[in-house]
């Protein structure tokens, strides 16, 4: 076996195979999909999303005019609510604000 054919068989052909497989792998991977994932600290620039089991339950104050949206304005919050008297913010011993009003819940950061 000459030097030329040795190089051809043991170097050029394996390198060609490796390159072909690498090219196929790069073409197949869906990179755009993976980048959309949220990672803490990376900017998150997506449209706000609001999930509901029954989307007709939300009264959107700011939505585009459209025939199918008219039904959503069933009962708007009363205008009086905007002028509700607001008391001072009460804080507990750790400095966390005690939630005023009838709504409860919790908040957290990460």
């Amino acid at each position: 076996m000459s030097v030329l054919s040795t190089v051809l068989i043991f170097v050029v052909i394996p390198v060609a195979v490796v390159l072909i497989i690498a090219a196929l792998a790069m073409a197949g991977s869906d990179r755009g999909q993976r980048n959309r994932r949220y990672r803490p600290g990376r900017p998150y620039d997506f449209q706000p999303i609001w999930f509901l089991a029954a989307p007709e339950q939300v009264n959107r104050a700011t939505d585009r005019p459209g025939p199918d949206r008219r039904a959503l304005h069933g009962h708007k919050p009363h205008a009086i609510e905007g002028h509700a008297i607001e008391g001072p913010v009460i804080e507990d011993s750790s400095g966390a604000p005690v939630l005023p009003g009838p709504t409860g819940g919790a908040s957290d950061r990460w």
């Binding site: 994932r37 803490p40 089991a53 709504t103 919790a106 957290d108």
Partner: protein, 160 residues
């Protein structure tokens, strides 16, 4: 019903993309079957599989507890708590509604329970759910955190 009526109906709400014979079928234009909001959600951070699971979790939570669960993912204006309250007020039957508001940019999450829902999900239960959600979010698992939070809140609320 006459053929003319069918044509009128089709122009009002297109069920197929067959505007003219020989055109594409609806499967070639899936965007025609969904609203603008639905199309926008597909461009969001969630995969289709995650969206399906979220939808299922919301539906099950609503059915089992009788409360209205809702998840908002997006920026919240300062003060965050007041904005979350405002969103919560926009829900029909806000007294029985539970809103989970997540702001990945601000790295903050708010759980708002209405006055009736608060009797079944105490603030302490909500805080527990918030803690586990924040842990998942810190690991970058947005959908998983929301799912586990929904699961915890629904199981604390119990059956209706």
């Amino acid at each position: 019903m006459t053929a003319g009526e069918i044509g009128e109906h089709a122009s009002e709400q297109p069920l197929t993309a067959l505007d003219h014979p020989g055109g594409d079928s609806i499967s070639a234009h899936p965007e025609l079957t969904m609203s603008d909001a639905g199309a926008a959600v597909l461009d969001g951070p969630f995969t289709t599989r995650q969206l399906v699971r979220l939808d299922e979790a919301l539906r099950l939570a609503d059915e089992e507890t009788g409360l209205t669960f809702s998840v908002y993912v997006g920026d919240l204006e300062e003060p965050v708590r007041r904005h979350a309250d405002k969103l919560h007020k926009q829900l029909d039957g806000a007294k029985q509604a539970v809103l989970i508001a997540v702001s990945p940019n601000q790295r903050i999450l708010e759980i708002v329970t209405g006055s009736d829902a608060r009797k079944r999900i105490s603030d302490r239960d909500a805080k527990l759910a918030a803690l586990s959600m924040a842990a998942a979010f810190a690991g970058g698992d947005l959908a998983g955190g929301i799912l586990s939070g929904l699961d915890q809140l629904a199981s604390h609320a119990g059956r209706s």
